[in-house]
């Protein structure tokens, strides 16, 4: 039964970019010293760290001193939310956020609420796009310290109206935090944000490297115990070889991003069209046009999501799911819930630089039979 593996879960972690591998190996030999010390090995490490920061800042379009490397994308998101709230606590206690933020942002919001703060989630429509009028009302309310909006949904791919949301924030004097984990290294970044985060393993860098950019003039205060490294924004010594690899692979991914978008977006269009046409009773979700180039999500009626992932895995396909039976909490994805779309039998397919047209064709050829087989086993054919 072993079929050749087809990895289609880049939105969780993209396969390591060859440039990341090379840079990591070189930096393991050359970048092990503490860049804060005053000797030759440290100066070499400092040079590597400075160069990585400079290159990454350039890709993001920020100043080098606005950018910190964190120990993960999750840590960056936690710091962005809690630091943005701390920096403006005199203004008020409220965090406005979309209902479809990443769980890292929502968990930081829960912490804020547990400490006496307020969180105000803003709904999305059936396609997973922010309700801009509700957003504008929410950020204009008194006592809003920070607003958080994901650049594009990590679960369904819908690109958010960040520029419009940022304009509403600017009008209300509220800083905007954008979680750009699915966008950095793939698509141009939106404008108008004050704080931005990303995660290296989404673009083919190593896991365990996050980016936290805080624009000059933003009232942001570190929520962590004091530490002077990384501009005082995140504690602990950086994993320098991983940071060097993250920076090198981001530069490579960004250089190829436009070509990859041109190559992958039509493959996602093909998946959207063929799954809808060839799998009965399926709901392809997310915005068909205003979407990420590499990500598509659909739900198969009457199919158990966990059984579907296992059946796909047996045929060599690695995908992700927002169905409750695949989550540790046994709750359906809050994103699918906020959109009001079917949550069971859910599959997220996300493509990357190694994905070929043949991979997609094999997935499309096998999926209808796999779904039909599961429905036959469950006795739900014709319902």
């Amino acid at each position: 039964m072993n079929a050749s593996p087809v990895y289609l879960d880049a939105a969780t972690a993209a396969p390591t970019h060859p440039v990341a591998r090379q840079a990591l190996l070189a930096a393991l030999d050359d970048g092990w010293a503490d860049p804060g010390k005053l000797y030759g090995q440290a100066r070499r490490a400092r040079q590597l760290l400075d160069a990585a920061r400079e290159a990454t800042a350039q890709t993001l379009g920020v100043r080098a001193d606005e950018l910190s490397f964190t120990s993960s994308g999750t840590t960056a998101a936690h710091g962005a939310v809690l630091g943005g709230l701390a920096g403006r606590r005199r203004v008020g206690p409220t965090l406005v956020h979309s209902a479809i933020e990443h769980s890292a942002v929502l968990h930081a919001a829960e912490r804020h609420v547990a400490a006496g703060g307020v969180a105000d989630p803003v709904p999305v429509d059936r396609l997973g796009r922010l309700d801009l009028s509700a957003w504008s009302d929410a950020v204009r309310a008194p006592g809003v310290a920070l607003a958080a909006l994901i650049s594009a949904s990590h679960e369904v791919g819908t690109v958010q109206p960040v520029a419009e949301a940022a304009a509403a924030c600017a009008g209300a004097g509220v800083p905007l935090y954008v979680d750009a984990a699915q966008s950095v290294g793939r698509v141009p970044l939106p404008a108008g944000w004050s704080v931005l985060t990303a995660s290296a393993h989404k673009w083919g860098g190593p896991s365990g490297v996050g980016l936290l950019a805080v624009r000059k003039g933003t009232r942001w205060e570190s929520p962590w115990p004091a530490d002077d490294r990384e501009g005082g924004r995140t504690p602990g010594s950086v994993n320098l070889p991983a940071v060097v690899a993250a920076a090198a692979s981001l530069r490579a991914a960004a250089a190829d991003a436009a070509a990859e978008e041109t190559r992958l977006a039509p493959l996602v269009d093909r998946i959207r069209a063929r799954v809808a046409a060839e799998v009965p009773d399926v709901e392809v979700v997310g915005d068909p046009v205003l979407r990420l180039p590499h990500l598509v999500t659909f739900s198969c009626l009457y199919v158990d999501g966990e059984a579907l992932l296992h059946a796909l895995d047996r045929r060599g396909f690695a995908v992700s799911s927002g169905s409750s039976c695949t989550s540790s909490t046994l709750r359906p994805s809050h994103v699918l819930e906020a959109m009001g779309v079917l949550s069971h039998g859910n599959v997220r397919v996300s493509l990357h630089r190694e994905t070929t047209e043949a991979d997609v064709e094999r997935f499309l050829a096998e999926l209808p039979g796999i779904v039909a087989g599961l429905r036959a086993e469950a006795g739900v054919v014709g319902l």
Partner: protein, 75 residues
């Protein structure tokens, strides 16, 4: 008040939706069936099923038997 009750408590997704899908074609048009389902996914998936099948989702309620969902057979 519903015309009948379908007890799907303790069933995990997608079983409550499947139970509703089996029962609805058997009842007369206009009948309201109340689905008792404590799986959190039912709150999302029962309204979504109604939308996909053109049936009327009447309401979600929380009563003495826990979360429940009323569906009216529309056609």
């Amino acid at each position: 008040m519903p015309d009948e009750v379908l007890d799907c408590r303790g069933q995990r997704c997608p079983l409550p939706v499947i139970a509703a899908a089996r029962r609805m074609p058997e009842v007369p048009v206009g009948t309201v069936v109340r689905v008792l389902a404590d799986d959190p996914a039912a709150a999302v998936d029962i309204p979504a099923w109604c939308r996909m099948r053109g049936q009327e989702f009447v309401a979600a309620i929380t009563g003495p038997d826990g979360p429940a969902y009323d569906i009216r057979r529309a056609h």
